[in-house]
């Protein structure tokens, strides 16, 4: 088994297990409380408006927006880690058919692994620093690594008819 395949299969299994562990701890310790907080903030916003306290209503609505911002990113990171991990394992099985030299294949595999780990991580970190440009840039770099690796793999497959 070549190094690039090892990287993709082992990295994929490890990333899938990590993504699932992250989802499990989130479901156990954070998700229910977050959903309660999200619903509670929205209810508080409407209730305050019913009491004609528009300042409190606006503050509660702001809390709702921030909680939802975090929730969406936590769920997205969990699902993207596992989804990208599955893609890595699947590609690892057939990576010999990507018709590049092993050195290039290792570079592409590393790019896919790095992007798959980095992109969801940057998304999660945004929940601690809302709107931080550096984290958005990191997420863009991560997703660019994944997309460019996938484009290279597709190109490698297209070249592979004669050389499996």
């Amino acid at each position: 088994m070549t190094g690039s395949r090892k990287l993709l299969i082992f990295g994929g299994i490890a990333l899938a297990a990590f993504g699932m562990l992250y989802g499990l701890q989130y479901a156990l310790f954070v998700e229910h409380q977050t959903l309660d907080h999200m619903g509670g903030s929205l209810a508080q916003s409407f209730s305050a408006a019913a009491g004609r306290n528009l300042v409190q209503s606006q503050a509660a609505l702001g809390q709702y927006g921030e909680t939802k911002y975090d929730y969406v990113r936590q769920v997205d990171a969990h699902s993207h880690w596992i989804g990208l991990a599955m893609l890595m394992i699947a590609l690892g099985v057939i990576f010999e058919r990507v018709n590049f030299k092993e050195g290039v294949r290792q570079l592409v595999a590393f790019s896919l692994l790095a992007g798959s780990a980095l992109f969801p991580l940057a998304v999660i970190l945004q929940t601690y620093h809302h709107g931080a440009m550096v984290l958005k840039a990191l997420a863009v770099v991560g997703s660019a690594l994944v997309i460019s690796a996938l484009a290279a793999i597709a190109w490698g497959f297209a070249r592979s008819r004669s050389t499996a």
Binding site: A50, I89, S143
Partner: protein
């Protein structure tokens, strides 16, 4: 690790890519002899495809009978809450928003059950592919496969039940028994995965397989048209999905998040001012925004998942014991549905329920293609194992 003797060659030692004309007499679903001692790989393949087909069917039923009705109930709850705000009735506000929370939980748990069932199926197919490199005993691998399939079934069942069981009889403040079932099943899947990773690590260290007769068998050398079509089509679908996701995240995600709080702000202000016409307009805007987000996310996730599914199915084609003609039919149906569903989900914003109906048909096409392949796998008797092992 000691080698396990090569299995005795059974009556099914034909190449699986042969046409249906060479089926042995009496060979068919339920009678194939080697299914009496189903290997870990076959458990993963059969269980994985069954989980994916069941998850897709559940998603289709959800889309047809629940999704749009649920969206309408969300709008009704928001209108009721706004009217309560206008009347200054805090108790009625809480009641309406409690109802909204229940409606959202109903939708969310069904979407999660759909996604987790399909993803567990994908993982099962992936684990089937790497089994030759998991340096564990045959019996351990088989037990792990059974545990994985059990976890893959119970996890979405637990998620589905969360809305109905709630906190009934639960000793916890926020977690009900259905959540406990779902979380325990998720933990079971994680444990199986960690053991598989350990087995793979053992292989990397020792280079010894527990089933050496499967050496070189991780990807049977069939190079058929259905297999190439699934691999190429799948890669293209995944790439398109990534590009769409990047476009959505870059241009629409933050704008949609900002618009949601803006619309809610205008809705609440209008309700406090007693202007129910504006409230109705804003509730409609809120529904439109939710719809736009939902179709973009659904198109993104479905096109990638179908792409991955096509790639995975390309690997298991040698185990689909059907004639090439039927294999091609199922592949065309599956790839056609994989394109139709996400494209028409996106078009739902412009074409309305007509596009939704066509998207549902696309989903049905994928399900029929999958079930067709599943039938082919049921007809597979293990001949390929023996043929490859004999080389």
């Amino acid at each position: 690790m000691p080698a396990i003797p090569r299995p005795m060659q059974d009556s099914a030692s034909f190449a699986p890519m042969n046409s249906a004309r060479v089926f042995s007499p009496g060979f068919g679903p339920g009678v194939a002899p080697s299914f009496e001692r189903m290997s870990a790989r076959r458990l993963y393949i059969f269980g994985g495809i069954a989980l994916i087909a069941a998850g897709l069917l559940f998603g289709d039923i959800f889309a047809v009978f629940i999704l749009h009705q649920n969206a309408a109930r969300q709008g009704e709850a928001l209108i009721a809450a706004s009217r309560a705000v206008a009347a200054g009735n805090t108790a009625a506000v809480n009641q309406a928003l409690g109802h909204l929370g229940s409606v959202l939980e109903d939708r969310g748990t069904k979407v999660d059950a759909h996604v987790h069932m399909i993803d567990a199926g994908y993982l099962a197919l992936l684990l089937a592919l790497v089994q030759p490199y998991i340096a564990l005993s045959r019996q351990t691998k088989k037990s792990l496969a059974a545990l994985f399939i059990v976890g893959g079934v119970l996890l979405p069942v637990g998620i589905f039940l969360i809305h109905y069981v709630g906190l009934t009889g639960s000793p916890f403040a926020a977690i009900g028994w259905a959540s406990v079932l779902a979380d325990s099943s998720g933990a079971l899947l994680i444990v199986v995965l960690i053991i598989q990773a350990w087995g793979f690590w053992q292989y990397l260290r020792s280079r010894q397989l527990s089933e050496p007769e499967l050496l070189g068998f991780e990807l049977p050398a069939e190079d058929s048209t259905p297999r190439r079509a699934l691999l190429t089509g799948g890669t293209i679908l995944v790439l398109l999905g990534f590009l769409h996701g990047a476009y959505y995240a870059g241009t629409l995600l933050y704008e949609h998040e900002r618009m949601e709080t803006t619309i809610l702000r205008r809705m609440i202000d209008a309700a406090a001012a007693g202007n129910l016409d504006v409230v109705t307009t804003e509730v409609n805007n809120f529904g439109g925004l939710a719809g736009e987000r939902a179709v973009n996310i659904a198109a993104h996730s479905h096109i990638i998942e179908f792409g991955l599914l096509a790639m995975l199915l390309s690997f298991v084609q040698p185990f689909v014991f059907l004639s090439d003609k039927w294999k091609r039919r199922w592949v065309k149906l599956l790839l056609g549905g994989s394109v139709i569903l996400p494209v028409f989900v996106l078009l739902e914003l412009k074409l309305g329920l007509l596009a939704g109906g066509i998207a549902d048909i696309g989903g049905l096409m994928v399900i029929v293609g999958l079930v067709g392949m599943l039938v082919g796998i049921l007809r597979y008797s293990g001949g390929l194992d023996v043929a490859e092992g004999a080389q």
